[in-house]
């Protein structure tokens, strides 16, 4: 099996998994909207929770995976780790955008404000921006070896930065409590809602794996093409 065939197999599996999970996602919507009871205090707005929380989970999972793959890359220097780290970062940026758009839509009716500088919101916003920078940096570097090393450095720095930002905002908040902010306690969900949420978490996690596999395969194919081009020129 040539590397090209292997990449194509990955791409096929990724597409299959992604397709299946997109169908499952539609199922989650149907279940959330029709077969899950409406939350007493928040009303229909709470439905967005079934998309928002799992998307946030997938985004943070993606960035954590990027950070871990970055460490592994600097250690083992296997280019496939870099391709996978970049794929995960890209998917993470996509899920972050889902999280950052669904969040305010829910926040407006429930908190009364689109945005608040809460610890979780702030750290996810900055980690999102950092990974946008990560993608831009990758785009600006042409040498694949250099690109891999530099992105790994940013990936690791990002992993360490997150707790610092979280703690910063936490300190900021405790010193300046915001009276407008209604911070909801974590509700102990009734069974029906919990099931919908858990199913959605599962679907989003597998959707992440599906996207990741596809992007990884594309990254491998791109590397192969670049190598062939380099050979053809020399």
């Amino acid at each position: 099996m040539t590397p090209r065939d292997r990449a194509l197999t990955f791409a096929r599996r990724g597409t299959l998994l992604t397709g299946a999970m997109l169908v499952a996602l539609a199922g989650v919507y149907v279940r959330a909207l029709m077969f899950t009871p409406i939350e007493r205090f928040q009303g229909p707005a709470q439905k967005i929770f079934y998309v928002h929380a799992p998307a946030a989970w997938s985004a943070l999972l993606a960035f954590a995976v990027t950070g871990i793959l970055s460490i592994l890359y600097l250690w083992l220097r296997d280019r496939r780790l870099d391709v996978a780290a970049a794929a995960s970062a890209e998917v993470g940026v996509a899920f972050s955008m889902v999280m950052l758009t669904t969040g305010p839509i829910w926040g407006k009716p429930i908190w009364g404000t689109w945005w608040t500088w809460d610890a979780r919101l702030t750290s996810t916003l900055f980690i999102f921006l950092l990974f946008v920078g990560y993608m831009v940096l990758r785009g600006a570097l042409t040498d694949p070896e250099v690109r891999a090393r530099y992105s790994a450095v940013i990936g690791i720095m990002g992993l360490v930065l997150v707790p610092f930002i979280h703690f910063t905002v936490f300190l900021f908040r405790t010193l300046h409590p915001d009276p407008v902010l209604m911070k909801p306690e974590k509700p102990s969900l009734p069974g029906d809602m919990l099931l919908t949420l858990l199913v959605s978490f599962g679907v989003f996690t597998l959707l992440y794996v599906g996207f990741l596999t596809q992007r990884y395969a594309l990254g491998l194919l791109r590397e192969l093409r670049d190598e062939e081009m380099a050979h053809a020129v020399s």
Binding site: L74, G133, V136, V153, F172
Partner: protein
């Protein structure tokens, strides 16, 4: 260890000598700092917000922005004529290169700060002189934080086409903890509160300094070609 520090000092002195001969970056960073201080003074409603309320934020925006336009200089000058390869050929540990660059950048940013602070007092009319030791402590710890991270990032972004654009994009997320912390401590110092009130923030700054200094020093060698 002594060899490492000697090599680092040699690199820092070389950088500072080059900068001292042209003064391009220093003069432009200084002029930029004065401009930011002056413009931010007017970036408020004077009937609603007193100058002293925006002063800590203005000071730190000035410091970080002025530093940011100067930080790329350290590695930009090594890019021309591939001077970096020459340094890498020298029989010195690669960590010395990073430490030297950090030291030179610290001196550079400190020079900008030493000039900005009197102007800050002048423009914003803040009672600062009695609290100078505390303020120096804050400025020192926070400046160290963003110079260390900025030096590492600038060593990478100079390899890209839009390095002046790329550095702020990558560096600003890392500035959140040090700058927020520095502004909080500065605000308390300027308000005449005891430093013990801001102990949590000082701990955060110190932890950031230590963690990112160690991490950046380790990661720097990974950014260099084998």
């Amino acid at each position: 260890m002594a060899d490492l520090l000697r090599a680092a000092a040699a690199i820092a002195l070389k950088d500072l000598a080059v900068e001292w001969r042209t003064k391009t970056a220093l003069v432009s960073s200084l002029a930029f700092a004065v401009l930011v201080l002056a413009v931010l003074f007017f970036a408020r409603d004077p009937t609603a917000v007193g100058a002293v309320d925006v002063a800590p934020g203005a000071l730190w925006v000035t410091f970080t922005f002025a530093a940011m336009i100067g930080l790329n200089r350290a590695f930009l000058m090594e890019r021309d004529n591939r001077a970096l390869d020459g340094i890498l050929l020298a029989p010195i540990p690669r960590t010395a290169l990073f430490l030297g660059k950090v030291a030179a950048n610290l001196v550079f940013v400190a020079a900008v700060e030493v000039v900005s602070v009197p102007l800050f007092v002048l423009f914003y009319d803040v009672p600062l002189w009695r609290r100078l030791p505390e303020l120096t402590l804050v400025i020192g710890t926070a400046t160290f934080a963003f110079v260390v991270v900025g030096t590492l990032l600038s060593s990478m972004v100079v390899r890209t086409r839009f390095s002046e654009l790329m550095l702020p994009l990558l560096l600003l997320p890392f500035l959140v903890p040090p700058v927020v912390g520095a502004v909080q401590v500065t605000a308390r110092v300027l308000a005449g509160r005891p430093l013990s009130e801001a102990l949590g923030w000082l701990r955060l700054l110190l932890a950031f300094d230590i963690v990112f200094f160690v991490l950046s020093t380790i990661l720097f060698t990974a950014t260099l070609d084998e």
